[in-house]
Symmetry: C2
Subunit: 712 residues, 2 copies
């Protein structure tokens, strides 16, 4: 884990300290003084004696006392030398502001490599480069030019200084929440996202983590950490750079591997992260998750004092897949007892003016609803906080009373209340009271719904997290002796792919299907093997040098009679020799002809950021025209395998279509798990491609299987 | 068009005037006085003499001077009587606050019918019932309890009082825009949406129209009007009730036909309406459209002073289908001349600190960009307005100067500038200046992008509106004599469906395909007809009493030899007689067997709100599993027909798939236009179903065609 000396440094050296007011080396010292940093500050600049009374030294190693952290404000090219000096001094970490590294192409990458080499030599951990800095709010260690950031429980990790500024400004203006830390991750030259995450997971001041990400250097380690973190603390994440222009923009900006693959979103969700799509949603979701219990059963009641808001709220929550269940008759009766006849009590509940002269009625409705075990939380929409403005000033006190009731209800029931208020702008005391109890107040109905969605999503995750992904392979543990032998043979023959029969054998070994294919070495062997099948057979050349078997005339279909099998054997060999006289021929695969069934494809690839990833789709039009495929970061559980199958848009095809029987989903699931197991068992494998796989009412047939090995 | 006496009334009677402060009949008079309504006010209440000095009369007809409009605050059941009295007096319109009509089921509907009958008798136009009222801002005619609404150019039409309150509050707090009118449409018992629209289209105070809709009584008339209106003024519309719970909520609330069919969104867009999905987007889009020129070429430049905002903006605009074109080299050179070396100039443009000490640089960049003919507008994202807060107080004046430059640029170039500012909350004068020039300022980056999207969408519509929909049938104009004869025959035989041969003949008559099918009356005729085809033939029973031909043993395929044709004829007749001894048999259709091709389906239905609608989809899996179908309100132009084809998700199947040749799109387009023409030509038709239609490399074949007639 990251040393406390980095994010909780007790002493800091400002390298590039300056007397020029507009320079970072001046501003950095000024803000540390203003914010009353609890540690010691040293300036480093050979040309000056002090800045604002802070003594300056010619170099870091000249400072007589221990230095935990260096804030380096000088240009990129000075970094290797300065870090060398920091290393001599035993500095634990450095915050590197300068840009001009990885984000500026080859030259910059070289400089970055040089810099990190020095840092590794002395075990100096680097924040950045190309970062706006770091803030430890509770120690007043502010290494960014941001003033007046509110203190609180949110750790903010951002790859854009402006987005950090956005979040901090928004928190200040719109909420009572504040921050424990801000870290500008920059180019991730040394410290990666997952290390910050681990630190905040264990930080007692941090209740929730908010992230803005443009790209990650080590997505898998991040997932592995996030899976642990989200069991204890919620994470909200916005990933930008999803469009090609966005990717270009992010690339020129962070130098990270910008634009994550399409697997990112699902992977983050599987790790329990609440992924948002809009920057507007970042703080609202974080505020709700940091302060409120999550919704445990995905059921919400909408409590409204007007129809329009109720209708829009119902639409939004439906889009967010939160249930708005009809309220039980028993509970409806209790509501009807205190509401006017015109009220709707089914859900959304519309009090229809029933609270106009007494806003406490709303709190009473919430009490009734939250004590119904089927209701997981209440979203109040409309005018609360403004009854005193809209109807009568004297209602302000009743609204404040109601706010206390709402707040205590949350504590009493362990269920959340979320408030949308049209009168938020007027800053009534009642709404401030709600925030005191941790109830967030939104003037946007959509954002209020989004906060509900986040609470429901996180609650759902915690409910079932044991079946979720850890993203860890027990590498090699499930390898079979015969499987290792296949790998060994391929390696010893200098091959970078398994032969078709080897690939199929591997699938059989790991339980993905029963394979009847045989490898014949002579026409007579082929005839004998074919005699063992009821069906007609297909014959295919097996050669490490012939990848495209059909092109080489290496495939013959629909064979039955001994003479046609002998002839086919000879033809295939002749064709192969003609195609490539030097091709090594391992034999001819004899396999039963495939019956009609549903065509699916399964494959894996090695993602730059996440490592091994599995893909599933229904073959033909669905994959080729509609790109209807699903990805998961490997390994997968049975839960994830079922999830993949269910997520396919054309899933109905599996249920039987136009009179076809349903196909064997269990067999597909088994094959997906087999793929996951094989990837974990044999680290030699680079990627796999099973296309097509034919699935029947019972069982399946991997018709063609290609397994590519890593370059040795 | 609506009489001026209704929305611009010069005199108003408050029916149900009251001395009780909490009653609407008191508040209504109070607010009219406070807001200084320019017309005359009369109270109506037999029990009191005056309210706040306004004289009360026992009934409306007792008022000695003319009364334009009555605001009726009494309960639902009093309405028929009061309207009778209003009618005697010659009142032009009434605003009916009471609920308890159509939204409360059968009893309420009856009362509503009774009330509208009286209104029609005297030609009294009704706003509502179940409405929060109406405001004419420029006349201070405020019949709603809303105070302090800002005056301006937006006409607000809403089916929810709370949503009106939301919009008005938001305008007050966040913008400089205001309202010309507010109308609470309520249950639409009399005046429909399209009538308000026409009024606002012609109102000189109205620059843009903002609508919140839960359901519409007459969608087609609305579309016909909107098509006209949007040529002159932009319309922004949010339609809620898209989820089933939302529909239920809306239904209990407005009593309108809540929850529009899926055709609504496309239809609104074809009429030039900017449809938004979130209530947060309503005012931002309206503000931009009311104050700024639209984007003419769908191209925007993003001008940023930080990477994160640029990246998020690029993602958002890409989702909204706005182009972010790479800036020409020539223009990039001009930008580079005034920006630091680290700046990105490709688009997004990131000034990379180049404006930190001089915000005028941003305005200068905007000038360079807007003078590039390829750029249709500029979105500025980031810190503008806050340079004085973030960097140095003295920059406030430069920011104000820049604001004047931005504002004048819009006037000079006729292209919009949209501003996102993190410092909007601080209300700097520079941002107020922008608003003075009509440039909207958003603290949400996503909403700023949405406003850009609205300007681009409206600009695109105006550019091509001549090819867009008018939603008007020239009913009967394109009918053929033979077509009328077919209808006549069917009617005279008491049928509610055309026979298959009649349906196909109709399609041929209107140019949708060439039909070779023949109707045989005897085995020998069938043999002779079959001899005329190269292909084998299919034979099908033709009987008005047999809808499901296959079930009746009424279809035989793949026939060629005379004897098998004779036998098939006899078998089909026998089967039909056995199936239904009373069935009238018109003959047997002899048609060439269908070659292989791509299966599509085309149909029409009569939508409750929009009338005739056409549907197109690719048959089989695409329609049945993926529901991949496209709808358009009829009639359609060639432009719309092409749009339907292109919108199908599986459109790639039309281009040829797995070695198939591309299919004849023109033939599909022709058939779609034929359907549109037929629906317009023969008002007898209720709905049509062509399924399947087989499309070839050249031409197509409507294999089965069903045309259902309206009940006579």
């Amino acid at each position: 884990m990251l040393s406390d000396k980095i994010l909780n440094a007790d002493s800091i050296a400002i390298v590039g300290a300056s007397k020029t007011v507009t320079k970072r080396g001046y501003q950095a010292i000024k803000i540390l003084q203003e914010e009353r940093y609890e540690g010691r500050i040293y300036g480093v600049n050979p040309k000056i004696d002090n800045v604002l009374g802070v003594k300056c030294y010619p170099k870091v190693s000249a400072i007589p006392e221990p230095v935990d952290l260096a804030l380096i404000t000088t240009p990129a090219k000075t970094l290797p030398g300065i870090l060398e000096d920091c290393g001599q001094k035993g500095v634990a970490g450095a915050v590197i502001i300068a840009g001009g590294f990885g984000e500026l192409g080859a030259e910059g990458k070289k400089l970055e490599a040089e810099m990190t080499k020095v840092a590794r030599k002395y075990n100096i951990r680097l924040i950045g480069p190309n970062t706006s800095g770091m803030i430890n709010m509770h120690k007043n260690l502010n290494l960014v030019g941001l003033r007046n950031a509110p203190k609180g429980g949110i750790a903010l990790i951002s790859q854009s200084g402006n987005m950090a500024l956005t979040m901090i400004t928004e928190a200040q203006i719109k909420t009572k929440v504040g921050f424990s830390y801000y870290v500008g991750v920059g180019n991730e030259a040394d410290i990666n996202f997952h290390e910050y995450l681990e630190f905040f997971e264990n930080d007692p001041n941090t209740k929730a983590i908010l992230m803005y990400v443009e790209g990650m250097r080590n997505g898998r380690k991040f997932l592995q950490r996030a899976y642990q973190t989200t069991r204890k603390k919620p994470i909200v994440l916005l990933k930008s750079g999803r469009s090609s222009t966005g990717k270009r923009s992010a690339g020129s900006h962070t130098g990270a591997l910008a634009g994550m693959s399409e697997v990112a979103r699902t992977a983050f969700s599987r790790a329990g992260i609440v992924v948002v799509e809009k920057s507007d949603e970042m703080l609202p979701c974080t505020e709700a998750l940091a302060n409120l219990p999550p919704i445990k059963n995905n059921n919400i009641a909408i409590l409204a004092d007007g129809g329009g808001h109720a209708t829009i709220g119902a639409d939004e929550l439906t889009d967010l897949k939160v249930n708005i269940p009809e309220i039980s008759e028993k509970t409806q009766k209790k509501l009807k007892d205190i509401l006017p006849a015109a009220a709707s009590t089914a859900n959304p509940i519309d009090v229809a003016g029933g609270a106009d002269d007494n806003p406490l009625v709303l709190a009473e409705c919430a009490r009734i609803l939250l004590h119904d075990s089927n209701i997981g939380g209440v979203l109040v929409v409309g005018l609360f906080g403004g009854y005193s403005i809209r109807f009568s000033e004297s209602l302000a006190y009743a609204e404040e009373d109601a706010a206390h009731h709402f707040g205590k209800l949350v504590r009493e029931t362990g269920k959340p209340v979320i408030m949308h208020s049209l009168y938020n702008f007027a800053k009534p005391h009642s709404l401030d009271l709600l925030r005191y109890y941790g109830i967030p107040v939104f003037d946007s109905l959509e954002l209020a719904c989004k906060a509900v969605g986040a609470l429901a999503e996180y609650g759902g995750y915690l409910r079932g997290y044991k079946s979720k992904a850890k993203f860890v392979f027990d590498m090699g543990a499930k390898a079979k002796a015969r499987g290792r032998e296949i790998m060994h043979t391929a390696r010893s023959e200098g091959r970078t792919a398994l032969l078709e029969n080897e690939a199929k054998e591997l699938i059989s070994l790991h339980g993905g299907m029963i394979c009847h294919d045989c490898l014949a070495q002579s026409p007579e062997q082929a005839v004998a093997m074919a005699a063992g099948f009821e069906e007609k057979v297909v014959m295919k050349i097996v050669s490490p040098d012939i990848l495209h078997k059909s092109d080489a005339g290496g495939v013959r279909l629909n064979l039955k009679e001994p003479e046609e099998i002998r002839q086919a054997y000879r033809d295939i060999i002749d064709n192969a020799r003609a195609y490539d006289p030097d091709a090594k021929i391992k034999g001819i695969l004899v396999a039963p002809m495939v019956n009609e069934g549903l065509e699916v494809i399964i494959g894996t690839k090695n993602d730059d950021q996440f490592g091994p990833v599995i893909m599933f789709g229904i073959g033909g039009i669905m994959v080729e025209v509609l790109k209807d495929v699903v990805f998961r970061v490997l390994p997968i559980s049975a839960y994830a395998a079922r999830g993949m199958i269910d997520e396919i848009k054309s899933v109905q095809l599996l249920n039987g279509f136009r009179g076809q029987p349903p196909v064997d989903r269990k067999a597909i699931k088994r094959l997906l798990l087999t793929v996951s197991e094989i990837i974990g068992a044999y680290p030699e494998i680079q990627e796999m491609d099973f296309n097509p796989v034919i699935v029947y009412e019972e069982g399946l047939n991997v018709v063609d299987a290609r397994i590519i090995l890593k370059q040795p």
